[in-house]
Symmetry: D2
Subunit: 296 residues, 4 copies
């Protein structure tokens, strides 16, 4: 299948690689063109603008945020103006429910299809084709996308016909992770100030109660105060919590824990944490409780 | 070994049964004496008061809260006044750090030993001897207790010489569970009000991110709004969060998520939830967001 | 002076009346034209679109929110396209810091001046010319506006040259009021459930500690559970808190109390409070604590 | 009237002075005896222990907290054991609802009367006899106390027959003040980080909206970052918020703003604020938002 792929960040690069290895013919576009080089070496063609990547049946977008997606879709030489009638825009970025709804409306008006497929997984998971992938959109369009998604993920979770549902589930998942991080941050600060070994505490929690990848990864980062380099940076954590809260406000769903997380991320950023992993909520809890960082 | 066992609630009964099956000679005491009958049938002797249960090398307490433990220890015919010098009080209840410290001080003054061993696990886990058990106290006393603990649990986690450390770890574990419940409650309320199937959401979260017993159990209870009968009742959840916050205040550790959980439990209780499982924070989130309960 | 006035809601109508009584020649515009009738009876001229109201030295906007202001300014036949070079757009609505900054930039580009003057006061205060009025903008433009502002208010508070500063102070003021409402709501729920007379409590607080119009007004509304008709409706309260939080996020200032207020307003709206006064946070506190409303 | 007075801290000293000036015969007791010297110079007699101060019709206690009151009442040579039948214990300290209920029960059992009269006002207000005083208890006992209370206060607010109601109103009043402090702290942090003058902001708020002594005093302390010397120290603020929350938990009244205040005070204390005024919540907001203190 001839596939356009827009957005070659750390996630997109790995995902595009999976598609090439699965035998698809890729036309890739990235604002910083040099990031396409490794893919070109594997057989991809480079597009000079988003429109150039829209000649096939499907164009995939995998970008940082709403603004980036809106830029490549609604801008000059954008996806909306150049995708063929009947072709599919497969959006895999973590974007807002609001933008997802707007994309559905605009693509429908242009006789194009829109499928939303945000993913769970870090860059190395993307590179190995082991992502967990959500999928929502019109059945025929989803059917077109499915083989591609299966090339990029270990499992695809269909969520019905409304694309924005997949975005809301993705945001809710990130909310759950952020909540787990904050809970770990506060409890580690507590036992640590009492003089109990932080790693022992986290190990016991993982052995006895949680046994979950999320608790293992973030428990370990917080216990070891290892916040750099960022696997998922704090400003992205703030962004996703904010988007979840915006969706919740629109639906009239109070989320007090979400509100707390938002303020904690802002505190982290106010104190110089722009480049730290979102696990660095552990740093906020340590500072708030008057504990010096044990590692620099 | 001759062992006293005080407190035959749903947890204590199962734990005492494990000890009998392991060949220990048990003298059991419970305020409501009839609860001892099944254990007597297995070979236990009944004590008429706490003092009667204190004739051996070890007396175990497994009671509901601080007041109950203080009652059997400090009251007339209590443990403190009747345990032999050198014998061990093995406290397995979820009690406060403060009471744990007081017990250590008083038992030490009376030349008795004190070991703190709170447990993780529900009643059916206790009955099958599969609890996870924390242990902190003087090394010699811990050594005396270890075979008993191994009869009751799948694993024993030593936490050093200060008994109250085991209590703080237990309280922190329950705080982590309550935080997970609240996070699930809010996110389920959000996706549910958006029209997304609650169970599908919880299944995806467990498959993709968490894969943890805690998220499976509580995600399922909240998705199905199954809050009765209570496996662990809401007032006990409130109690443990309050004890964690009290320890945190004493240590000067702010826990904003803990504070939020406390208020949510109080809201639940104010609205008639005294007999519901602590998972019923899901009910608070549903009501707050204007969603009628789908099941009665 | 020849003055355009756009927006004849309950606030705008009173303010425009003050200007007419002060001898200014008014050209008024409102989307629902009939609301202009009383002012026409006093001598005002009716404009058929925003552009028609832009022929003089000053055009005033007094509208509900960002969207309404952006509509009349940036739309076809809008203020931006028709205000004369050197003339002043005097914005008196409660809008976001972000829109205020955009208005400054766009008007400057069009060689027009922009002054921001949000107000404190309810409709009856506006009608009597007793508003408290903030003012920020270029000195020459402020000087042009000052006589008009003095016709509408008891006092004008200059806040320097950056228009958005006046908007941030206005939003911060509304945040302070919302915080006072929530504090009253919670404390009234507490003493009320203890059986203490709600009005006695509020009276004592006003006599002994606060003696402030805000505490008197809102204490009384909450004690008497008088949430209709809305003087300032709950959705507007939510909007202003959200705008304060957005400005705070942009500046990296955590506001945990602001976050709490946002969730409380959402709870109120989720439970049917769209048409209630923002004092109805008192209703949320009453419900959360399991207290039936004493008045229907 | 012959009056015992126990507790000569900064508040008690001023209050006792008012009683002497009003012509009452005072027997004073303080743990640190030398604090009685100025009152002795005015005609008071010194008691050597609490019992010595209990020979008349009334004994007043004005102490720092529950522990201090319980000490002088229930200890050896304490008030409970030595007050005459029919005499009144007039408690003016800020104590918990729980202790107030216990005092009523114990004094009643001992055929003594118990009146609760906590006060609003700082030390210099106490010295000038201008306190605002709450009063609750049996009518006859209140009648006995009234002339004394009127010597110490500008106004006495009767609150019925249940003494603990006066304590709950006092705690609720301090909750309202703490809430106002936090609201000011957050809004000052916001406008300050935006570059707006802090004092101008506070002045406008006081002129336009609040005009309340509380907002004037605390707005000024926060704007000027003047947190020493403490008029009312942060640990006392934490104590009163904690007592309000304890009463609220007992009554099943969630107070999310109260919970937030508790955590903010703990943060302040964790970061070295034990000796600062409770207005130093302003310092927490400044630090959280990454703003250096402008004054040392």
């Amino acid at each position: 299948m001839k596939v356009g792929f827009i957005g070659l960040g750390r996630m997109g690069e790995g995902m595009a690689g999976c598609l090439i290895r699965a035998g698809h013919q890729l036309v890739v576009y990235n604002r910083t063109a040099s990031r396409a080089d490794p893919l070109v070496a594997q057989g991809a063609t480079v597009a000079t603008d988003p429109a150039d990547a829209c000649e096939g049946e499907i164009v995939i977008t995998m970008l940082a945020d709403d603004a980036a997606v809106a830029g490549v879709v609604f801008g000059d030489r954008g996806v909306l103006g150049h995708l063929k009638p009947g072709a599919v825009h497969l959006s895999m970025s973590s974007i807002s429910v609001e933008l997802s709804e707007r994309l559905l409306a605009e693509h429908t008006k242009a006789s194009q299809a829109f499928v939303s497929s945000p993913v769970f997984g870090r860059p190395h998971v993307a590179a190995s084709g082991q992502l967990n992938i959500l999928m929502a959109g019109a059945p025929a369009a989803c059917k077109t996308c499915l083989p591609l998604l299966e090339s990029m993920g270990q499992k695809v979770f269909p969520l019905g016909e409304r694309p924005s549902d997949a975005n809301l589930v993705k945001l809710s998942g990130n909310f759950l992770i952020a909540a787990a991080i904050e809970a770990l941050a506060e409890s580690v600060a507590l036992v640590s100030k009492a003089g109990i070994d932080r790693k022992t505490f986290v190990d016991i929690m993982n052995t006895t109660l949680f046994g979950s990848p999320i608790y293992k990864i973030y428990g370990s980062l917080i216990a070891e105060e290892k916040y750099e380099p960022a696997g998922f940076a704090a400003p992205l954590g703030l962004k996703d919590v904010r988007l979840a809260l915006a969706a919740a406000e629109h639906l009239r769903v109070p989320m007090p824990l979400g509100a707390l997380l938002r303020e904690r991320f802002i505190t982290l950023l106010a104190q110089g944490g722009e480049n730290l992993d979102w696990a660095a909520l552990g740093l906020v809890a340590a500072r708030d409780s008057g504990q010096a960082r044990t590692k620099s």
